[in-house]
Symmetry: C2
């Protein structure tokens, strides 16, 4: 069991409906030492990749991306979410439909900050069905940037996002993959990783 899985068991809270609350250390209150440990682990897992930029999406991805960026010595760019805005200026826009909520959202990024010279590591806190991540990848494709890897803190392995992303051939490294939860006992079950 790795450091993030241990922390989830210690401080995560399981709620009915397969909800895992990690807001005491990851996405509301943020434990910076833990996130630095995540940065070191992703640097180890992506050691052979030549990465010059970290891309994430607001809001909770931003802090994680900034800490992790220090381990790669690169800048961060974050995409913005919008319901539907008037686009002024030169931006990439990806329309992403939420499988769960049927809503369509836009993921937006200035064209100034991503182009075909970029070798990108995508970082986010959670992966479930993965519509936000699909939007980020779509923007990288539009920009001609290379997605060198994807680092996710917590993947919900019982939802489809991780499977789809790996089927497409992306190098997805989730530090904890949750296979199931029991809100009555508080148990969390992880997929075994090497």
């Amino acid at each position: 069991m790795n450091f993030l899985e241990e922390r989830i068991l210690k401080d995560g809270v399981v709620k009915e409906g397969n909800v895992l609350k990690v807001d005491s250390f990851l996405n509301h209150q943020m434990d910076i030492d833990l996130i630095n440990e995540m940065g070191r682990e992703w640097k180890r897992r992506f050691a052979d990749k030549n990465i010059n930029k970290i891309l994430t999406i607001e809001a909770s991805g931003i802090g994680i991306a900034c800490i992790v960026a220090q381990h790669f010595g690169v800048p961060v760019v974050f995409a913005k979410k919008a319901k539907s805005i008037n686009i002024d200026g030169d931006v990439y826009v990806a329309e992403v439909k939420s499988f769960t909520h049927k809503k369509v959202n836009q993921v937006i990024l200035s064209k100034s900050f991503l182009n075909s010279d970029d070798h990108v590591l995508l970082i986010d806190d959670f992966l479930a069905n993965g519509d936000a991540l699909q939007g980020l990848i779509s923007i990288c494709n539009e920009a001609g940037a290379t997605v060198e890897g994807i680092g996710i803190a917590i993947e919900k392995g019982f939802q489809i996002g991780g499977t789809v992303i790996r089927n497409f051939g992306y190098d997805l490294e989730s530090l904890a993959i949750v296979e199931g939860m029991n809100h009555e006992t508080g148990e969390v079950f992880f997929r075994k990783q090497d």
Copy 2:
């Protein structure tokens, strides 16, 4: 002239209507080395303060707060913005009215992560009229937490926020205070600081 003022002159873009775009290094693409320098400077300015937590607000404040937190060795908590939501659970809510847009927004923070034992440094990227910051202070007051200081990257000195916050007696340290801009020449004029 300090490092942030120099960077604004180098890479900031002045647009009509007193708009200063710093999205190439601060709030869309983020220069992590620059933000670490900001962290060192705030640590110097708040050296006599006993700070145990950094509080900010989504979205662009989060990354800055996480990097700065490393210089204080403390966790980050970020408040969330909402138009008007159904509050479930135990949260602080501050209603803040935008002087410019006349809209009312809510600033929301879980009660689990702020209480009367906390000595807080507030961090954000911009201060103009300061309604978001007023909401954060209101939440600290509701929690009984002590606001030890406020660190702002760029203050618009010709708007009212900084004056009000200092009138209330808060220790506000803005790294760059813009007194005026000229979008035709691209000039930016800073308030002299010690």
